[in-house]
């Protein structure tokens, strides 16, 4: 019997390291392994669990070596692998990073860490739709996490807003646990990988294109979603008990910005091909760089960032 046990990796002491890695998703964990193997002292600090958004993926089918694995299982493997090398401090939110004589001082909930280099692997968080009803009904039918909340809607109809890969996977997951999902996609065509299009069709999941959601409505909780058909201009509505929003992600880059790290106009950290930012000894890797939003790429970028940090710390 698999109860999906997740182990903690509590680290408590404040300490000095060569490189501090902020964020314990695939990029951060991979960076940690590479940094320590290269000979650097490192710590990974995460405000939540190690695993990052990979944990929320109901199923991952494009990570090399795994034909299909639950996101949480893959994240668990990453974490257990990384824990063999590097200390991971979970549920420890970094509040502030300041520079003191060329050393970064990282002030976090559980302690203070001093580092010669920093890798931002802070990832992304769910983007909001910004329509009436979204905030009002958060927790009353509006959700951003199917693995967390899907079960509350068994036997009920829900709308998944956004038909990209995340939305498609969410809809398939919901269908499989006994929820009746309908996908609302803004663009005129399927926006997910063909592999998911096939499953959506096979499972008979309704996928509505050209749908611009304008409102989530109800009395005390979500009762319907209202959208404009971009083809006809008509306003339509669907009765639903829940709305799962998967319209994309926004980078978590505020801490980096405060250190003077340059971002693009959407807030993604700009990096060189070796994962350097514009600030010396500051690197970024994974989804926060906005390059692909793929687990395998995040892991690769994490490795690259650690190798570059090692190079810079050793030879400069």
């Amino acid at each position: 019997m698999d109860l999906g046990f997740v182990l903690p990796s509590a680290s408590r002491e404040s300490k000095d390291v060569d490189v501090a890695i902020i964020g314990a998703g695939p990029a951060g964990l991979s960076a940690g392994i590479y940094a320590v193997r290269a000979g650097l002292k490192a710590i990974i600090i995460d405000k939540g669990n190690a695993g990052g958004l990979a944990e929320e993926a109901p199923f991952v089918e494009n990570y090399l070596g795994f034909e299909g694995i639950k996101g949480e299982d893959l994240a668990k493997r990453f974490k257990e692998h990384a824990m063999k090398y590097v200390e991971i401090s979970e549920r420890n939110e970094v509040k502030e990073i300041i520079r003191d004589n060329g050393i970064f001082v990282i002030k976090a909930e559980k302690g203070e860490y001093r580092a010669k280099a920093i890798i931002f692997a802070t990832g992304t968080t769910h983007k909001k739709l910004n329509v009436p009803g979204e905030n009002e009904f958060y927790g009353k039918g509006v959700s951003y996490c199917v693995t967390c909340d899907g079960y509350f809607f068994r036997g009920k109809k829900v709308a998944v807003i956004g038909g990209g890969n995340s939305g498609a996977i969410a809809a398939i997951y919901l269908k499989d646990i006994g929820v009746d999902p309908v996908v609302l996609e803004f663009m005129p065509k399927y926006m997910c990988e063909k592999a998911y299009v096939d499953i959506i069709k096979e499972k008979g999941i309704e996928y509505i294109t050209n749908a611009m959601v304008t409102e989530i409505a109800g009395k005390d909780k979500v009762e319907k979603v209202i959208y404009k058909d971009r083809n006809t201009g008509e306003t339509k509505e669907i009765s639903v008990d829940g709305v799962f929003i998967y319209i994309g992600l926004i980078p978590i880059s505020d801490l980096a910005k405060k250190l003077g790290v340059e971002t693009d106009n959407r807030g993604y950290i700009k990096v060189s091909s070796k994962m350097r930012t514009n600030v010396p000894m500051v690197y970024a890797a994974g989804d926060v760089t906005g390059i692909a939003g793929q687990i395998i790429i995040a892991a690769g970028q994490g490795a690259m960032a650690a190798l570059t940090a090692y190079e810079d710390l050793t030879f400069s």
């Binding site: 019997m1 693995t147 079960y151 997951y173 909780k221």
Partner: protein
């Protein structure tokens, strides 16, 4: 072929009960963690009852964890026993992590601490054994004001990666203030209870059956809700 995996049975689906829930590799890791961090003794109390789908599993998990270190004691009681009355337990399974003294039954799990909540359980065992928990000075000062019983209930699902943070915050507060009880509730195992509070997104936190909020917030925000609930009692 491609989508085979989507049809997997959810991890908490009832299956044939067998011994050995925690894998050998996980056990090795936990042994090491416990030997590093455990100081004083810790009691794991499991309350079981009839018609309880997950009681055997809760018992087995607690037993297996207790076997990993001498400082951890395991006890099983019936939910209608005198001990249950002493600890204020009326639902099964309930798991309490305690020193058997000042922590009483204030650090508790109603429903199975599986999935992500297993990590909360382990961290609780370590903190209870250390007889302390970490919060900032600012949060500690606010915690110290709480001079009446405050009950924090955290509704969770085992597949929610954000939930342990909310559970652990309540449990850390409970360790640091004897008026605070932190009670995780597994919403899928107790649907009527979850419905009472219209739980549709987790973590969903209910304080003193009054103040509610949704989400895993940092200590500084969390404590504000606790203080609000406490002020309303005056």
């Amino acid at each position: 072929m491609i989508h085979k995996g989507f049809n997997m049975i959810p991890i908490w689906a009832p299956k044939v009960i067998e011994m050995g829930y925690i894998g050998d590799k996980d056990k090795e890791y936990l042994k090491e963690e416990f030997s590093k961090h455990l100081k004083e003794n810790v009691k794991l109390l499991v309350f079981t009852g009839d018609n309880c789908q997950y009681c055997n599993v809760a018992t087995a998990i607690a037993q297996e964890v207790a076997e990993l270190h001498d400082a951890i004691e395991f006890h099983e009681y019936r939910v209608d026993s005198d001990e249950a009355k002493i600890y204020g337990v009326d639902k099964a399974p309930t798991v309490i992590v305690t020193d058997g003294d000042k922590y009483g039954g204030r650090i508790r799990y109603v429903g199975l601490p599986s999935g992500y909540e297993f990590s909360s359980l382990i961290e609780d065992i370590i903190d209870v054994s250390r007889r302390t928990a970490e919060v900032s000075e600012e949060v500690k000062a606010q915690l110290d004001m709480i001079d009446k019983p405050v009950r924090i209930q955290i509704f969770v699902t085992p597949t929610c990666p954000y939930c342990p943070r909310a559970v652990r915050t309540a449990h850390r507060f409970a360790i640091l203030n004897e008026n605070i009880t932190g009670e995780m509730v597994e919403a899928i195992e107790f649907p009527e209870w979850a419905n009472k509070w219209n739980v549709m997104s987790v973590p969903h936190i209910v304080i003193n059956e009054d103040v509610q909020f949704i989400g895993a917030y940092p200590d500084e925000q969390y404590i504000k809700y606790v203080v609000d609930a406490w002020k309303k009692m005056k």
